[in-house]
C-alpha cells in the first residue's frame, strides 16, 4: 500500500471537508451487479445512499457473457425470478474442446438445474437498469449519466467523490467501477492493470427466433443452454469461447487472455470471434441469424493474486474492480461474485455506521464477511488455476490427443482395430509429447482444478 500513501501525500485538497457532516452514509460508484447489490443492501437498512453510474440508463455500458447464478441475488431480491428481465433458465450446460475439424463436448442436461432455476441467461443492458431501479425503490438516490472524475482524499481517508469541481462527501465510498477501475487505480488503491490478470472478451448478440432456438437446441419455451469451449483451432493462440441462448437471440463470444494476444501479436481480436463463429460445429447453430449487437469488455481473470486490498479508510473495492471473478477454463463467473461482494460490503457499511467508525479497522469486517463466502474461498482454492488455463497443451495437444483417440475408436475405416492403450500411445507420439511428461502434466492439471 506504499503507492496509496505516496498518492495521498500528493493530493492537496484546497478546502478541508473534514469536520463537516458528510452528504451521504455511502456513495457507490458504478451501477453494475456489485454496486446495485450494495446500494440495495444499504438502502434497505435505512442508510442514506448515493449510487452514481456513468451510463444513462444506469448499466447501459455493461456487458457480459451472460449467465447469472442467482443464489445471492435471491437474498436481497427474493422475487428476482419473476420480476427481473431474464432470458432463459439454464438446464443444459456444455463444456468442450474445439479442434480445427472436431468438437468434443460434454453435454450435461439436468433436472437438478431445472428444479430451482437458479442459473439464467441475461442481457446486461436490460438486467442492470432493473437492478438500479430496485436500488432506487429501496431508497437510494440513483444518478445516471455521470462519470466521477476522482476521489476526494483527506488525511489518508477517502471522504467523497469529485465531479465538475464539486465534491460530494460520504462516510464510505464503495468502488464498484468495474474491471477497468480508473478511480481506484488513479488514487493508488490498487495497482494498474496488467496483462496476466486480464482477458479481452469480444461478444455478439445474434438474433434468432425463439422457435428456431428451441428447435435447434432442444429447449422448451423457457429453458436455455450455456456452453463454454476451449478453442484449440487457432494455431498457437489459446483462447476460450462461450455460447448462450437468450429468449430470441444467442450471446456468443471469445475470451482471449491478454498475454496470449501479445505473445501472438499478429491476430486482431475482432477476427477471432469470426473464426469461432465459422467453426464447423458452431456455424450451423447460428445459421440464418443476424448480429444485432457487437461489443467488447475486459474480463478479470487474475485470480486471488490480483485481488487488491479490499478496503481502507473510507473505501471498499467491489466486484470486478476488486478482481472478484472466477475462471477455471470450464466455468466463467463474475456476476454472482459481484453480487455477493456488494451484499457483504453493504452489510459491512451498516455495521460500521452502527459503530460510527469508518476507518480501515472498522471496514475490515467486509473482508471477513467475504472470506466466509464462496467468493474469496473459490479464488483461494483455485489459486494455481492459471497454471492450467495458461498451459498451452490444454488448448492444442490434449484436445488433439482426445480427437485422435476418438477418431481411432469411433471411426470405422475398414482397418484392424487397436487396443485403446495403443491408440493413446500412438496419438501421443504423433503429437511428440512424451507419455511421462503428459501424465505429469495431466496430474498437475487434475491437482489444480
Amino acid at each position: 500500500m506504499a503507492n496509496f500513501k505516496e498518492n495521498i501525500k500528493r493530493i492537496n485538497s484546497s478546502e478541508s471537508i473534514s469536520g463537516r457532516m458528510p452528504d451521504y452514509d455511502a456513495i457507490v460508484v458504478g451501477a453494475g451487479n456489485a454496486g446495485s447489490a450494495a446500494a440495495i443492501t444499504m438502502a434497505s437498512k435505512g442508510l442514506n445512499v448515493l449510487l452514481v453510474d456513468r451510463a444513462d440508463p444506469p448499466g447501459a455500458k455493461n456487458l457480459s457473457g451472460g449467465v447469472l447464478w442467482g443464489n445471492d441475488l435471491a437474498e436481497i431480491l427474493p422475487k428476482w425470478q419473476t420480476e427481473a428481465p431474464l432470458e432463459r433458465f439454464i438446464d443444459n450446460k456444455k463444456i468442450g474442446f474445439l479442434t480445427e475439424k472436431s468438437s468434443i463436448v460434454i453435454d450435461f442436461k439436468t433436472e437438478f438445474f431445472r428444479d430451482n432455476k437458479i442459473a439464467h441467461s441475461v442481457l446486461r443492458a436490460k438486467f442492470d437498469p432493473w437492478m438500479a431501479k430496485k436500488a432506487k425503490e429501496a431508497g437510494a438516490l440513483v444518478i445516471p449519466g455521470i462519470t466521477v472524475e476522482s476521489l476526494a482524499i483527506e488525511d489518508r481517508t477517502v471522504v467523497g467523490i469529485k465531479e465538475s469541481g464539486d465534491t460530494i462527501t460520504a462516510n464510505v465510498v464503495l468502488l464498484a467501477e468495474g474491471v477497468n477501475p480508473r478511480l481506484s487505480i488513479e488514487a493508488g488503491l490498487r495497482k494498474p492493470l496488467q496483462d496476466r490478470e486480464l482477458s479481452v472478451g469480444v461478444k455478439e448478440v445474434i438474433k434468432l427466433s425463439a422457435q428456431k432456438i428451441e428447435d435447434r437446441f432442444n429447449l422448451t419455451k423457457e429453458s436455455g443452454m450455456a456452453s463454454e469451449y476451449i478453442v484449440g483451432s487457432l494455431g498457437n493462440l489459446n483462447i476460450g469461447a462461450f455460447f448462450y441462448t437468450n429468449k430470441e437471440s444467442i450471446s456468443l463470444g471469445i475470451v482471449s487472455p491478454m498475454e496470449e494476444l501479445r505473445r501472438n501479436g499478429v491476430t486482431h481480436t475482432y477476427d477471432l470471434i469470426e473464426k469461432f463463429k465459422s467453426h464447423p460445429s458452431i456455424a450451423p447453430l447460428i445459421e440464418g441469424g443476424t448480429t444485432i449487437e457487437y461489443g467488447a469488455h475486459l474480463i478479470p481473470e487474475g485470480g486471488i493474486d490480483s485481488v487488491p486490498q479490499l478496503y481502507g479508510n473510507g473505501y471498499m473495492l467491489l466486484g470486478d474492480a476488486a478482481g472478484l471473478a472466477f475462471s477455471n477454463g470450464l466455468v466463467l463467473q463474475g456476476m454472482n461474485y459481484a453480487i455477493v461482494s456488494g451484499i457483504k460490503a453493504g452489510e459491512a457499511v451498516a455495521e460500521a455506521k452502527a459503530r460510527n467508525d469508518f476507518t480501515a479497522k472498522s471496514l475490515a469486517v467486509y473482508e471477513q464477511k467475504l472470506g466466509s463466502t464462496y467468493a474469496l474461498k473459490d479464488l483461494k482454492t483455485f489459486k494455481d488455476i492459471r497454471k492450467v488455463t495458461n498451459n498451452p497443451k490444454m488448448y492444442t495437444v490434449y484436445p488433439q490427443l482426445l480427437e485422435g483417440i476418438l477418431l481411432e475408436t469411433l471411426w470405422e475405416r475398414g482397418q484392424p482395430k487397436k487396443k485403446t492403450r495403443d491408440v493413446i500411445g500412438e496419438a501421443a507420439s504423433k503429437l511428440s509429447v512424451g507419455k511421462v511428461k503428459a501424465l505429469t502434466d495431466l496430474y498437475g492439471i487434475y491437482r489444480r482444478m
Partner: protein, 260 residues
C-alpha cells in the same frame, strides 16, 4: 432578473427507432427516451442568457408522468425548476391543443419574459408549437434562432439565413425557437443532478389550468390522420470505400498539406 421558460419534449431517441419490415410502421418500443435534441440547444441558449443577465429558468414539458426524467435532466444542466404538465385530459393532443395547453401553463405560472423552444421535435417535425405558444400568449416571436442576447427592453435574436446572418430586435415578452446545433450544450453535473432529484418537479394538471376539455387533448385536436403511405426503401448504393480508396483520400490530404 429575467424570468425564462424552456419548453421541452421527451422523444424516443431517433437512433433507436426501427421500421418494422412487415407492417412498415415505426417501432419505438425499444427506444430510449431523450430530451428532443433541439430543445437541448434551446435550454443551452437559455442558460447562456441566464449566465449573462441573471434570472430563473423554468423547464416545462407536457407529457406522461415518465417524462419527469427529461425535466430532471434539464435541471441537471442548470435549469432551476421543472414543471410537468400531465393529465389524461391532455393526452392525444396535436400541435394546436399542445400549444394552447403550454401557453396556458405559462400564463398560469405568471407569464415569462422569454420562452425558448426547440425549432421542432424529432418525432413529428412540425415546428408548430413554438409559434403556437407565441400566438396564444400574444408574445413577440422569432423562429430558427441561433443566439439570443438581451438589451433592455429588447431581445436581440440572431438567425442564419442562406449565406448571411439576420439580426432581429424583438420586444418583451417573446418566444424564440432555437435551431438544432445552434450551440454546444453543457453537460449535466453530479451536484446539479443531485439537487434536481432532491428538489423534484412540480405537476400541473387540468384542475390547475381549468381549460375547457373540448379544447385540449384528443378532443381539441383538429388534425385527423386520414391515410399513411409507406415509401419504398431507397436503393442502396453498393459503393463501399475500401482501404485503397481511403489511401487515395489520405494521400490527397497529405499532398495538400491538410494533414501531416
Amino acid at each position: 432578473m429575467l424570468k425564462i421558460a424552456v419548453m421541452i419534449k421527451q422523444v424516443p431517441d431517433s437512433q433507436d427507432i426501427t421500421i418494422d419490415p412487415v407492417t412498415k410502421t415505426l417501432n419505438r418500443s425499444q427506444a430510449r427516451n431523450v430530451v428532443n435534441p433541439p430543445d437541448v440547444n434551446a435550454l443551452e441558449a437559455a442558460l447562456l442568457l441566464k449566465d449573462k443577465e441573471g434570472g430563473e429558468i423554468t423547464v416545462i414539458t407536457m407529457g406522461p408522468p415518465m417524462a419527469d426524467v427529461a425535466l430532471l435532466e434539464c435541471m441537471g444542466r442548470g435549469a432551476d425548476k421543472g414543471i410537468l404538465v400531465t393529465d389524461r385530459f391532455f393526452a392525444g393532443a396535436d400541435t394546436w391543443p399542445t400549444s394552447y395547453t403550454l401557453a396556458s401553463t405559462a400564463d398560469y405560472l405568471g407569464g415569462f419574459d422569454i420562452i425558448f423552444c426547440g425549432e421542432e421535435t424529432t418525432d413529428s417535425s412540425t415546428g408548430h408549437v413554438g409559434p403556437g405558444i407565441a400566438e396564444f400568449l400574444g408574445y413577440q416571436q422569432a423562429t430558427y434562432v441561433n443566439k439570443v442576447e438581451y438589451e433592455e427592453p429588447f431581445f436581440i435574436a440572431e438567425r442564419d439565413i442562406e449565406g448571411a446572418t439576420e439580426t432581429l430586435r424583438i420586444g418583451k415578452p417573446a418566444v424564440v425557437t432555437i435551431t438544432l446545433n445552434a450551440n454546444a450544450p453543457r453537460n449535466p453535473t453530479l451536484k446539479k443532478k443531485i439537487e434536481a432529484y432532491k428538489k423534484g418537479i412540480t405537476i400541473v394538471a387540468n384542475k390547475d389550468l381549468k381549460l375547457d376539455p373540448a379544447c385540449i387533448g384528443l378532443k381539441g385536436s383538429p388534425t385527423i390522420v386520414k391515410d399513411m403511405k409507406t415509401v419504398a426503401d431507397p436503393v442502396k448504393t453498393p459503393v463501399k470505400p475500401g482501404i485503397e480508396e481511403l489511401d487515395k483520400v489520405i494521400s490527397v490530404l497529405v499532398e495538400r498539406g491538410i494533414v501531416k
